[in-house]
C-alpha cells in the first residue's frame, strides 16, 4: 500500500469512527515504524478484515509456531444468531483458526463455557460450524477439566480455570464488543469468564478486580476483538437488531488492557471509563493510554 492510498483509507476509517479523537491516533499510527502495538482493520468481509488486521501485526507466524497447540477462545455465551451480535462473529473465528493452521499449528481448540444451553449456543452462533469447517477441534466444556489456579490477586486467591487453556502453547482471545449492565462493556478481559469454573457469577460482586485477576492468570498471546457488529444496548444478551451497530471492524493486539481500552472507544467511551481497564493498567497488566501505543489502522 502506498502512502497516498493509506492516507485515503485512514481518512475513511477516521470518518467511520464516532469519536473524533481517534483521528489523531490514525495519523500517529501512520508515522509509526514497522512494529505495531495494535492493528485495526475495517472493511467489508469479516474474513478479509481479520486477515488484514493480523497481517498488520506481522502475520500469525509471529505468534504461532510450528507444532503449537492453540486455544482460540470466542464468546459463545448466548443462544443467538450472529446478526444479533451477542456472540463472536463465526467468520472471524473461522479465519483465525485457518491462520493458526497456516502458521503451522498442530491443533486448534475452540470452546467456551456458555451461559445459555451450550448445544444451542455453539450451533446458533454459527461458531461450531465455522470453526469446525476450518479444522478446529470444537468441544463442549468438560466439567472434570477445571484446575484450581493460585492467583493471589486483587480479590481472587484462586479459582478453577479450564485445563486446556492452561496447557495450551498459545491462547488467542476472540471476544466480541458488547454493552454490559455492570462492567459497562464486555470486551477481552471479561471474555475470560468463559474459562472459569465454579459459581463464576459470584465475581460480579467485585467484577473489575476479579477480571484483572483472571486476565493475569490466563495471559493470552493475542487478542482479536470482533467489532464486525457491536451490541450497543441490552447487553450482553441483546435480542434486537436495533441495538446492533455494524462496524465491520476487527482489532488485534497483544496487550489485554490496551485492547479493551481501544474497544471502549468504539462505544464512545475512554478506556479509563472502565474499571477493569484502570485496574489492569495499575496492576501492570498493560497500557491504558492509547496515545502511548503504536496503533495502525487500515481499510480493507
Amino acid at each position: 500500500m502506498n502512502r497516498r492510498g493509506f492516507l485515503k483509507n485512514a481518512a475513511v476509517v477516521g470518518a467511520g469512527l464516532t469519536l473524533s479523537g481517534t483521528c489523531g491516533l490514525v495519523f500517529r499510527a501512520l508515522e509509526a515504524s514497522e512494529r505495531v502495538d495494535l492493528a485495526v482493520a475495517q472493511g467489508g468481509v469479516p474474513s478479509q478484515v481479520t486477515r488484514a488486521a493480523i497481517d498488520v501485526m506481522g502475520g500469525m507466524k509471529r505468534f504461532v509456531a510450528r507444532g503449537d497447540v492453540v486455544v482460540v477462545k470466542p464468546n459463545i455465551g448466548w443462544d443467538r444468531t450472529p446478526e444479533y451480535a451477542a456472540t463472536t462473529n463465526p467468520e472471524v473465528v473461522g479465519t483465525i483458526v485457518r491462520l493458526c493452521y497456516e502458521a503451522g499449528a498442530k491443533k486448534v481448540k475452540v470452546f467456551d463455557r456458555t451461559v445459555s444451553d451450550a448445544r444451542r449456543c455453539y450451533r446458533q452462533s454459527g461458531i461450531a460450524d465455522a470453526a469446525g469447517a476450518a479444522g478446529a477441534e470444537v468441544s463442549h466444556i468438560d466439567d472434570r477439566k477445571f484446575r484450581d489456579v493460585r492467583m493471589n490477586g486483587l480479590v481472587l486467591k484462586s479459582w478453577p480455570l479450564y485445563v486446556d487453556v492452561l496447557e495450551a502453547d498459545k491462547v488467542i482471545n476472540v471476544p466480541i464488543a458488547k454493552e454490559h449492565g455492570l462492567s459497562r462493556l464486555t470486551l477481552g478481559m471479561k471474555n475470560w469468564m468463559g474459562v472459569m469454573g465454579g459459581w463464576r457469577s459470584r465475581i460480579h460482586q467485585s467484577i473489575d478486580e476479579s477480571l484483572v485477576d483472571v486476565a493475569k492468570a490466563v495471559k493470552p498471546t493475542l487478542t482479536v476483538l470482533d467489532a464486525v457488529r457491536i451490541l450497543t444496548a441490552n447487553g450482553p444478551t441483546g435480542g434486537s437488531l436495533s441495538d446492533v451497530k455494524q462496524l465491520n471492524l476487527v482489532a488485534v493486539g497483544t496487550d489485554q488492557v490496551a485492547m479493551d481500552s481501544f474497544g471502549a472507544t468504539l462505544f464512545g467511551f475512554k478506556g479509563s471509563d472502565l474499571g477493569y481497564v484502570r485496574l489492569g493498567a495499575k496492576a501492570g497488566l498493560g497500557v491504558m493510554d492509547l496515545a502511548k501505543l503504536k496503533i495502525k489502522k487500515i481499510q480493507v
Binding site: S116, D117, R120, R144, G181, N234, T237, G239
Partner: protein, 518 residues
C-alpha cells in the same frame, strides 16, 4: 421359523424405539429432526381417551387408525411383534422357568377392568391413561429414571478411570467415553425429582415377569385389553390339525396365556408369538386367515364390569374435589411449560409420557407428585432452580403427543408468560447487603430486558456510601422463563424467583390490570 421372524421384528422395533428415545434430545437446532413420539402416535388407547377426555384429536391420530385396522384383521400382533414394553417383558420373562399358566389364566380379565375404569373416567374427562398405558409408562420410566441411571453408571465408571489413572488407560477410556457420548449418552447427566419412585414402579412391572411371564401383558396392560377387544373378530387364526392330541406342550410357552385345557385357544389373548406353531411335537398347529369359528369369548362377568365402570366414574369426583379445584387457590410453583393449555384442559390432555421432560434442554421440566392433585401425577412442571426455560427453544411443544403443550412457533412462544419473577429484597445482595450483583439482569433474555437496573446509594456498616445497581422486574416484559432464578448466586432459597401468577394460559391467575401501565 416364524418365531425367529417375530424375534427379529421385536428387536427391530425395540431398537427403533430406543433410537427415537435417544434422539429426543436437542442437537442445538430449532427442530429435533426425528419423529420421536412415533410410537405414541400409533397408540389407539391414547387416541381414544384423549378424544374422550380432552375433546381434541391428537395431532397424528391417523397413525393409530392403522393399528386399529391392523388389529381388527390380524389380532394382537402389535403386542407380540412390536410393543417395546412387551419385548422387554418377554426378555425379562426368560429369567423364569417356563410353566403352564394354569388357573392364573383367569386373571386376564383384570386388564379389561382396568380399561373399563380408564374409559369410564375419560368419558367424564378425567384422563388416567398415561399412568398405565404401556408406551407412556415406558417412555416416562426411561426418561425420568432408567436412562438417567444408565448415564450415571457409565459416567461414574469413566470418571473413576479418568481421575484414578491419568495415563495410557485414560486415553483409551476417554476415546470410548467420547464415542458413547456421541451416540447413546445424554449431553448432560439428567436428574429428576422422582427418579427412584418412577424407576421402582417400572422395575416392579419388569419384576412381575418372575411371577408369571409377561405378567403385565397378560393381566394388566390396558392397551393390550383394547387391542384384545378389537381383535375379537380377527381373521388371523390358529387351527389345529387332527394330529393334535391336546398334549399341552404349547400351553407352557404361550406368551399370551391364550392356550388352556390342552387345545383350547383364546383369540383375543393371543400375541401371535408363534411359539406353539414352532414347538408342536406333532406339527399340528398352523396359523392362517379364516373367517370360520366364533368370535373370541370375552367372559368378564356382568357384576365385575359394572364395578370397574362405576369405580372409574366415582374416581372423577374423588380426584376433582381436591382443594386445588377451588378457584383462586393456586399452587404458585406449578409453573407449566410454555404452550401448556389452561390447567384443567392441560390435565385432560396430558398423558404423563415424560417426552417433554426428556427433551427439556435445561432439565428444568420435572414430574410432579400431588402438586396438581392426584390427577396431575407425573405431569411436567418447571423447577427453575433445576433449570430454566430456554428463550429460543420450542422442543417440549414439538414432542407432546396430545397437544397438552401446544406446538408454538418461536415468535409466539417467546411471548408466552409461564409466570413472573419477583425479587426477595431480604436476600438480594444489592438490596440487603450493599453488594454489587447483576446476574439476573445480565441473563434476562427478553429485549428490552424485563429486569432493569436502578442505581442506588446505600450505606454499609462503616457508614460509607456504596453505589449499587438494584435489579427491578418489569412485569409487562417478564415471561417467567426463570433463568434469573436458576443463576441467582444466592444458592438454596434464591433472591429472585418465579411463580405462575400472570401465566398467559390462565384467565384468573393474573396480577396486572389489563391496559394499565406499570
Amino acid at each position: 421359523m416364524i418365531k425367529n421372524l417375530r424375534r427379529a421384528s421385536q428387536a427391530v422395533f425395540l431398537l427403533l424405539f430406543l433410537f427415537l428415545f435417544i434422539q429426543t434430545e436437542s442437537k442445538g437446532y430449532d427442530d429435533l429432526g426425528y419423529p420421536v413420539r412415533l410410537f405414541l402416535d400409533f397408540d389407539p388407547l391414547i387416541f381414544l381417551t384423549t378424544l374422550l377426555a380432552s375433546h381434541t384429536v391428537p395431532v397424528a391420530f391417523y397413525l393409530s387408525v392403522i393399528l386399529i385396522v391392523l388389529t381388527i384383521f390380524m389380532g394382537r400382533v402389535f403386542c407380540g411383534w412390536v410393543c417395546p414394553l412387551g419385548t422387554l417383558n418377554n426378555m425379562t420373562g426368560t429369567l423364569r422357568k417356563a410353566r403352564p399358566i394354569g388357573d392364573r389364566r383367569r386373571l386376564y380379565r383384570w386388564k379389561y377392568y382396568i380399561l373399563l375404569f380408564i374409559l369410564a373416567a375419560a368419558l367424564f374427562r378425567l384422563h388416567l391413561t398415561g399412568v398405565l398405558d404401556p408406551l407412556s409408562l415406558l417412555i416416562r420410566s426411561l426418561s425420568v429414571s432408567i436412562y438417567p441411571l444408565i448415564n450415571y453408571a457409565v459416567r461414574s465408571f469413566f470418571d473413576t478411570i479418568f481421575f484414578w489413572n491419568p495415563s495410557v488407560m485414560v486415553q483409551g477410556s476417554e476415546f470410548l467415553y467420547d464415542l458413547l457420548k456421541r451416540s447413546v449418552l445424554a449431553f448432560e447427566q439428567p436428574f429428576f425429582v422422582q427418579s427412584a419412585f418412577v424407576g421402582l414402579l417400572f422395575l416392579i412391572v419388569l419384576g412381575l415377569n418372575l411371577i408369571e411371564r409377561r405378567f403385565w401383558c397378560k393381566f394388566l396392560c390396558p392397551l393390550g385389553a383394547l387391542l384384545g377387544v378389537l381383535s375379537r373378530y380377527a381373521l388371523l387364526r390358529r387351527s389345529l390339525s387332527e394330529g393334535c392330541d391336546a398334549c399341552g406342550a404349547c400351553e407352557t410357552l404361550c406368551q399370551g396365556g391364550a392356550i388352556h385345557d390342552g387345545d383350547r385357544w383364546n383369540l383375543s389373548e393371543c400375541l401371535y408369538c408363534m411359539n406353539c406353531d414352532d414347538l408342536c411335537p406333532r406339527n399340528a398347529v398352523s396359523f392362517g386367515f379364516s373367517a370360520k369359528g366364533a368370535p373370541a369369548a370375552l367372559d368378564l362377568g356382568r357384576r365385575n364390569v359394572v364395578i370397574a365402570f362405576a369405580s372409574g366414574l366415582v374416581t372423577v369426583p374423588l380426584l376433582r374435589t381436591t382443594a386445588l379445584s377451588k378457584p383462586g387457590y393456586v399452587n404458585p410453583r406449578l409453573i407449566r411449560p410454555p404452550g401448556a393449555l389452561e390447567e384443567r384442559e392441560f390435565l385432560r390432555a396430558c398423558i404423563k409420557c415424560g417426552e417433554c421432560m426428556k427433551v427439556c434442554i435445561t432439565n428444568g421440566l420435572q414430574p410432579i407428585l400431588f402438586e396438581a392433585g392426584l390427577e396431575g401425577i407425573w405431569s411436567p412442571v418447571l423447577i427453575p432452580r433445576i433449570g430454566y426455560c430456554e428463550y429460543r427453544c420450542t422442543l417440549c411443544g414439538q414432542v407432546c403427543p396430545t397437544g397438552a403443550i401446544a406446538r408454538l412457533p418461536l415468535e409466539e412462544k417467546q411471548k408466552v408468560k409461564i409466570g413472573l419473577a419477583m425479587i426477595d429484597e431480604g436476600r438480594c445482595l444489592p438490596y440487603a447487603h450493599a453488594t454489587p450483583c447483576i446476574v439476573c439482569q445480565e441473563a434476562c433474555p427478553t429485549s428490552p430486558k424485563a429486569i432493569w437496573l436502578e442505581e442506588a446509594q446505600v450505606r454499609n456498616r462503616e457508614g460509607r456510601v456504596v453505589r449499587v445497581k438494584r435489579p427491578r422486574v418489569d412485569l409487562e416484559l417478564c415471561i417467567g422463563c426463570g433463568i434469573c432464578e436458576t443463576l441467582c448466586p444466592v444458592i438454596g432459597q434464591p433472591a429472585i424467583y418465579v411463580t405462575n401468577v400472570g401465566e398467559s394460559r390462565s384467565k384468573t391467575n393474573q396480577l396486572l390490570l389489563p391496559g394499565a401501565a406499570t
